[in-house]
């Protein structure tokens, strides 16, 4: 037996917060997902998460220093973005906006907690090795060891230096984007990034017990 009823369209319309997305810096696909999520489409928000989860987690791994913290912060950042999604106006790319939330969350979290180094967990987290199939096993091992050393050196930096390095070297943000995310003048971005690179070099030298690169190091 099929049950039928006369349903008036629109009777079931619910009041949902509308998106304020109007800026031109959001790519079309993101715009569609954001607007759908603001209408209550949780699957659309899930699409945004899947699109940016790896990128965000990778960046946060180097900011937070551990896999668990990176995932926790990423989740917290995504949740915050969901709760505030209707306030996102599109004056930056969605990821830039999300990343800002994540960096602030990560830095706040680290300031509340004592840093724990976790070399092994970092190794386990890396599952997409960008290596050449023809690479010799020994060369790959050396490269992986070097990567661990670079990551260790990153962990020894201050939060500000580490964040700006990750933004520039891993995220590929330009100075204007970095300035927007970190809420800094571009001039400060330039000087801070340079100091971060010098600090990273110094930490690597310390880890290795010798200059990490060819020639004498110049300290300024």
């Amino acid at each position: 037996m099929l049950l039928t009823a006369d349903i008036t369209p629109g009777h079931w319309e619910l009041s949902l917060p509308t998106s304020r997305l109007s800026g031109a810096k959001v790519e079309q696909h993101d715009r569609q997902l954001i607007q759908a999520a603001c209408r209550g489409d949780a699957a659309a928000f899930g699409g945004l998460v899947r699109k940016y989860q790896e990128r965000l987690c990778t960046a946060l791994l180097h900011i937070c220093g551990s896999v668990d913290d990176a995932e926790d912060v990423a989740q917290e950042a995504f949740v915050q973005s969901y709760l505030k999604l209707h306030t996102f106006v599109g004056d930056s790319a969605f990821y830039t906006w999300l990343y800002r939330i994540a960096v602030n969350t990560a830095i706040s979290r680290r300031r509340r907690r004592r840093e724990e180094t976790s070399v092994e967990s970092s190794r386990e987290a890396f599952g997409l090795e960008p290596h050449d199939d023809a690479e010799q096993a020994e060369e790959r091992l050396l490269r992986e060891e070097r990567a661990v050393q670079v990551q260790q050196a990153l962990k020894r930096l201050s939060d500000e230096h580490r964040s700006i390095l990750v933004l520039r070297e891993i995220e590929g943000c330009d100075y204007d984007q970095i300035a927007q995310i970190l809420n800094l003048p571009v001039g400060t971005v330039r000087s801070r990034l340079h100091r971060a690179r010098l600090q990273l070099k110094e930490q690597l030298d310390t880890l290795l017990g010798e200059p990490s690169l060819g020639g004498s190091s110049s300290r300024r």
């Binding site: 890396f126 000087s191 340079h194």
Partner: protein
């Protein structure tokens, strides 16, 4: 570092972030200074090493966890558990309208669902608003091989109105019990639960319809229902497992149960609505929500004491 040539220009040169004048200045400096050329080479090498650090592996369930956490956070932001505002007069007609909406455009089938006294690890937190109901349902949307269980709590005082509404759409009392194996198995389990539990009575409505229609219908019920009605997504069930478990069960025996509950349970009888293809076992379980086809939702109708 000197004011004449701040070496931060080298980093900016590396990043292509210089003005034309600054670029010329750095080029001239590099041509004249072996030290600066070496530093630039070191910075370039270091930049490459950081940029080529391996990417982090994210497990396949991360996005699902995030969405659930986001919806839970949203729920936490809203007022206390759903208490639908008293509706204006013509309450019974709203119930009829809402109940009819629930069944509209769907094959309405009846089954008795094993009672769950407490939320499980698959449970969803109670919802508070219509928007959260939709979000919660979508987040909890069952995939192929699953059925979503939601609990509709109705004060005893409103039970009569609910019965009337259900009767209006063909669910009547007094029907003979069917020998359909799944329905009988469910009813037997409910009887056993009721004999030990405290629920005044419980019944179940099984709906298989597109999720959007179920969402609208449940939202309408929540919106139009009398005061004190709550609607909570509760759990997901392995439908395949349920169908398998019911096979081979013989005739049910009598049990010491709440008479009113038994009466209500028998009034909702699968024999009136052939289960047919709706209970076709689905091979395997998919974690991806079924967004286009019909989904299975079991609505537990629980009569509660007046608060």
């Amino acid at each position: 570092m000197t004011r004449e040539f701040p070496d931060e220009l080298l980093s900016a040169y590396l990043d292509g972030e210089l003005t034309a004048a600054e670029h010329q200045q750095v080029e001239a400096r590099l041509a004249a200074s072996e030290t600066d050329r070496q530093l630039l080479a070191e910075l370039r090498s270091l930049r490459g090493e950081v940029a080529s650090l391996p990417r982090m592996r994210v497990d396949g369930n991360f996005a699902d966890r995030v969405v659930r956490a986001a919806l839970a956070a949203q729920i936490a932001d809203v007022p206390p558990p759903l208490e639908v505002a008293p509706s204006p007069p013509k309450r019974s007609s709203r119930w009829i309208y809402a109940a009819a909406a629930l069944a509209a455009a769907a094959s309405l089938l009846i089954a008795i669902q094993p009672w769950r006294s407490a939320p499980t690890s698959n449970s969803i937190v109670a919802i508070a608003t219509n928007q959260n109901l939709i979000d919660a349902l979508r987040s909890a949307a069952p995939s192929e091989g699953q059925a979503l269980v939601v609990r509709l709590q109705v004060p005893a005082s409103a039970a009569g109105a609910l019965d009337a509404a259900l009767a209006q759409v063909g669910i009547v009392s007094g029907a003979a019990t069917s020998a359909h194996p799944i329905a009988e198995a469910y009813r037997r389990q409910v009887e056993e639960r009721l004999s030990a539990g405290s629920a005044a009575s419980v019944a179940a409505v099984f709906v298989q319809a597109p999720l959007a229609e179920i969402e609208r219908a449940l939202a309408a019920i929540a919106e139009a229902a009398p005061s004190g009605v709550s609607l909570l997504p509760e759990a997901k069930l392995d439908w395949n497992g349920i169908a398998t478990a019911s096979q081979g069960l013989g005739e049910f025996g009598s049990a010491s149960v709440n008479q009113a509950a038994q009466s209500l349970a028998m009034r909702l009888d699968a024999s009136q609505f052939p289960l047919g293809a709706a209970v076709t076992p689905i091979a395997g379980l998919s974690t991806a929500p079924a967004t286009s086809g019909p989904v299975r939702v079991i609505i537990l109708v629980e009569q509660i004491d007046a608060r």
